[in-house]
């Protein structure tokens, strides 16, 4: 989910860049040197994951996966998402350099909030609690991102209110899909590699 260049106003772009820089700094600080390869390779995996289109009725939607990024990486979601966005900007011209900050925040902030809100549930011993937490975390990632995009548009100009609302409504089906995906993915990882999620035993 990105906002293209040339739409947002200067105060929004600057605030986004400052907030993103702060988040990335915290994320890097919390990542030890030995962990950098893991975060790097996982960012690559998320990048590939976000290229996957899943069918939805007559159309298809591409995955965002920021809820899962948050679950697996915590604060490191900020640098990981920044890296992915930079590659998308350079390789496909999605998003761009000036909107990098705003786009990083809109996707990474819900990821980190999801990590704190639903992380404990996902790591709990009870399978049921974990799955409910995972569904909510996946949906929350998309919901949060859509709301932040709408907010960035609205802050640029009140005329963007309708567009912003549409962005949120249009993402409701994506929320359901991402929630289900996170649920099944967590169920899978709890079975085959609980260490990845740091599940309690």
């Amino acid at each position: 989910m990105h906002i293209s260049e040339g739409i947002l106003s200067a105060p929004v772009l600057i605030s986004g860049a400052v907030a993103a820089a702060g988040g990335v700094a915290i994320g890097l600080k919390k990542t030890e040197n030995e962990k950098i390869p893991e975060v790097g390779v996982l960012s690559a995996a998320f990048f590939v994951g976000s290229l996957i289109h899943v069918p939805l009725g007559p159309t298809s939607v591409h995955l965002i996966l920021n809820g899962l990024v948050g679950l697996l990486l915590g604060w490191a979601a900020f640098p990981a998402i920044l890296v992915g966005l930079v590659f998308q900007a350079i390789l496909f011209q999605f998003g761009g350099l000036t909107t990098l900050g705003v786009n990083t925040v809109t996707m990474a902030l819900p990821a980190v909030i999801g990590y704190y809100l639903f992380g404990p549930a996902v790591r709990s011993e009870s399978e049921k609690t974990a799955l409910v937490g995972a569904f909510l975390c996946g949906s929350f990632g998309v919901l949060g991102a859509a709301i932040l995009v709408a907010f960035a548009l609205f802050w640029t100009g009140q005329s963007f209110l309708e567009v912003g609302k549409m962005v949120v409504y249009a993402h409701v089906p994506v929320m359901v899909i991402e929630g289900l995906l996170a649920l099944f993915c967590v169920a899978f990882l709890r079975k085959v590699k609980p260490e990845l999620l740091e599940v309690k035993r």
Binding site: G6, A44, V48, P55, F94, F184
Partner: protein, 238 residues
């Protein structure tokens, strides 16, 4: 090859000025400059068009709403909806801005290798950890993409046909879970292999770049043009 640092700085400067500019003259000159760069870079025009099409989908989305929601005198109206002059003007402005910025960054950035650009970031004093993250991530995107194809082909060979069903989403979720798992394990092997070879936190690169005379020329020429645009936008002479 142009020094990647020059490319990064010029792209950044141009994007920032154009993103916040609003005077038609400035936007027009920016667009002309971007098109000039595209021809200078001898990009494949068909490829450029395909990219622009993708970029303009979000812009097209705005064209559906903005003309109706911008306040101002109505240009014309139908079904009780009013299209305002300001709304149309805002749409045109956004369209020109985003296309000009995309064209310029295509001409400047996509003509360098990603490794070259990331190396340039290092020399522009971007923190080491972030630069390393870029290196690792880019190095393994292709590998993991191959992994993805291997799994999806195996699924298709077993009769997997994606549709709107819980089963499909479950299959994709397991596919993504497998990708994470393999990536995490691969990263541990990579790190161990690096430590075995004496990794001490320094990244050594094969290809180096130098700041040459023509880089200086390019930086000065494009830098002055960007300053000129900024002056036309915010300068005192109006």
């Amino acid at each position: 090859m142009m020094d990647p640092r020059v490319k990064i700085l010029v792209t950044l400067g141009f994007s920032v000025v154009l993103a916040v500019a609003d005077r038609p003259v400035v936007l027009g000159m920016g667009m002309a400059f971007a098109i000039f760069l595209v021809f200078l870079a001898r990009l494949n025009l068909r490829q450029v068009m395909t990219r622009l099409l993708v970029v303009n989908t979000f812009v097209a989305f705005l064209w559906i709403f903005l003309p109706f929601t911008f306040p101002g005198p109505a240009l014309f109206s139908f079904w009780g909806l009013q299209i305002t002059r300001q709304g149309i003007a805002a749409c045109v402005q956004i369209t020109v801005k985003s296309n000009a910025i995309v064209l310029a960054s295509m001409a400047l950035l996509s003509t360098s290798t990603v490794f070259g650009l990331v190396h340039g970031l290092h020399h522009l004093k971007v923190p080491d950890k972030l630069v390393h993250l870029f290196f690792f991530s880019f190095r393994y995107i292709h590998v993991i993409h191959m992994e993805y194809h291997k799994i999806i082909n195996a699924m298709k060979a077993r009769g997997f046909e994606p549709d709107t069903s819980l089963r499909t989403y479950k299959s994709y979720a397991y596919l993504i879970g497998t990708l994470f798992l393999k990536s995490s394990e691969r990263s541990k092997r990579i790190y161990q292999a690096m430590v075995c070879r004496g990794f001490d936190g320094t990244f050594w690169v094969f290809q180096h770049f130098a700041f040459r005379k023509r880089d200086l020329f390019a930086l000065v020429f494009m830098g002055l043009f960007i300053l000129f645009l900024a002056f036309m936008q915010w300068g005192s002479v109006r």
